[in-house]
């Protein structure tokens, strides 16, 4: 993966960078299905497979944003279908609160999304990713620029 942000090339349109955490049992299989079915969708996501959406610590989401992601997508099994019975419900509860925290921190709602996608729903992976990429593209880069705050005197206001 190039280190340079996709937005860096001046003439091209902004290409959002989206980190997708997909659960091993449903959404990751759906993404596999989308691939083997040769469905075309936006190439802007980097998929990280986790055993369960419940494994996704809110720290992972913040870390993704802090390291340059413009959006974070979580994909898990539909309610009632969790391989571990309750994992996706825990995710749902955390996401509700994390969404509010992110908004209070100035990160727009569209940049963080939770979707239930079963192993059979390859077309839904495509639809969700395409839709999210367009929405985040419209918002523009996140530009948190945390590295600029590190160990150095930042700009002084007055």
């Amino acid at each position: 993966m190039p280190d340079q942000h996709p937005a860096a090339s001046a003439n091209s349109r902004f290409e959002p960078r989206i980190i997708a955490f997909f659960c091993n049992w449903c959404t990751y299989l759906a993404a596999d299905l989308a691939g083997t079915s040769r469905m075309k969708y936006a190439p802007n996501t980097r998929v990280i497979r986790v055993m369960c959406s419940g494994r996704i610590d809110p720290q992972f989401v913040l870390d993704a944003f802090a390291h340059g992601a413009d959006g974070v997508l979580i994909g898990g099994c539909h309610p009632g279908d969790c391989h571990y019975q309750e994992g996706n419900y825990k995710t749902l509860r955390r996401v509700h609160l994390l969404k509010r925290l992110l908004q209070d921190m100035g990160i727009e709602e569209e940049r963080f999304r939770l979707e239930w996608i079963s192993a059979a729903e390859g077309d839904r992976v495509r639809a969700v990713i395409d839709d999210m990429v367009e929405k985040v593209r419209a918002l523009g880069p996140l530009n948190l620029n945390i590295a600029a705050l590190e160990m150095s005197a930042e700009e002084v206001t007055v």
Binding site: R93, D104, V156
Partner: protein, 333 residues
């Protein structure tokens, strides 16, 4: 001067509570004075910056610096004391994680200054004059410290050897830290000098914490009569005990108040707020959007609740400022 180890205390962006801890050592302070020489402690003794400047580099055995870093003066003092000290200790929540002053990272610096110097109804400032680093009047020139865009933790400005947590640290925690430092067997650099377990571990109410906790809704302290024996989480109160380091001996809980997280996270956690949010949100009983929203309605301010002492140390550091460029004012040199 004796050859006892030299110790310095200094404060930056803080309330003075950490200095109280030193005073609250009470008669134990005599043991401290017997063991060390205090060479710099502006809040209590008449030392000047010049006294520190003339000291040889590394001549101070340990400096306990409390307070976050917000002004250019604080940054200069942090650098000065770093070079003069063998060990620099971030003392208290503000220098450890940003503390209460760190909550200012939810606003632009300009907004803060306007709120202080223009907006108050008791203030008459029609020209909107804000503090500036250089003030010239009648041939005299006065320069003042600059006010930076964000609050930073001490270790975001200089290298830090150890951390003493707490808002403020208890005298017991300070005494233990001094003892460890003087013992000669030092913990690994970067250690937080407090137990590395969650507060629930030393909570007097831990036996009343149910094995499986499931809450219909969180409650705000003003809305309930709080039982003095039962686990506060089990009563639906927002207690950050499960996501906070122990060492305070559950002081707030003994006062029938929920833990607000001042000792910071344990060593396995990078971002205290995210982890506390995760731990508490998972306790909600409902499996449906509407029910979850109702259960979480008692948390109107997640940033202020979960990052009460640690916003500058968090992964995101501060609220994102779109208008940053627009608000930035050139530095006057």
């Amino acid at each position: 001067m004796s050859d006892k180890p030299k110790v310095a205390f200094y404060w930056c962006a803080s309330c003075g509570g950490c200095e109280e801890t030193v005073v609250d050592l009470a008669e134990a302070i005599l043991d401290v004075v017997a063991a060390v020489d205090i060479v710099f402690w502006p809040v209590a003794l008449d030392f000047k910056r010049r006294d520190v400047e003339v000291m040889p580099d590394g001549s101070i055995f340990a400096t306990f610096l409390n307070g976050a870093i917000r002004s250019t003066e604080q940054e200069e003092m942090a650098h000065l004391l770093r070079s003069k000290s063998k060990r620099l200790i971030a003392f208290g929540s503000c220098s450890h994680m940003g503390g209460i002053p760190g909550l200012a990272n939810q606003f632009a610096a300009r907004t803060i200054l306007e709120a202080a110097y223009c907006d108050p109804t008791s203030t008459v400032n029609p020209e909107g004059v804000l503090p500036s680093t250089i003030c010239k009047d009648d041939g005299h020139s006065l320069d003042l410290p600059g006010f930076s865009e964000s609050v930073r933790t001490l270790d975001q400005v200089v290298d830090v050897d150890y951390y003493v947590p707490g808002c403020p640290p208890t005298p017991k925690v300070l005494a233990a830290a001094l003892q460890v430092l003087l013992s000669g067997t030092l913990p690994p650099k970067g250690s937080v000098l407090a137990p590395d377990r969650a507060l629930c571990d030393e909570c007097p109410r831990k036996d009343s914490k149910p094995e499986q906790l499931s809450l219909a809704a969180f409650k705000r302290p003003q809305d309930v009569l709080i039982d003095e024996q039962t686990c506060l989480l089990a009563q639906g109160l927002l207690c950050l005990g499960p996501a906070t380091r122990s060492g305070c001996e559950a002081l707030c809980i003994s006062g029938n108040m929920a833990c607000t997280g001042c000792f910071g996270p344990t060593s396995r956690v990078r971002d205290q707020g995210a982890k506390a949010l995760s731990a508490l949100a998972s306790l909600v009983e409902s499996k449906e959007d509407a029910g979850i929203e109702r259960a979480l309605a008692a948390i109107p301010d997640p940033v202020g609740t979960f990052y009460r002492y640690s916003l500058p140390a968090s992964l995101l550091r501060r609220k994102r400022l779109d208008e940053r460029a627009e608000h930035a004012v050139p530095v006057s040199k």
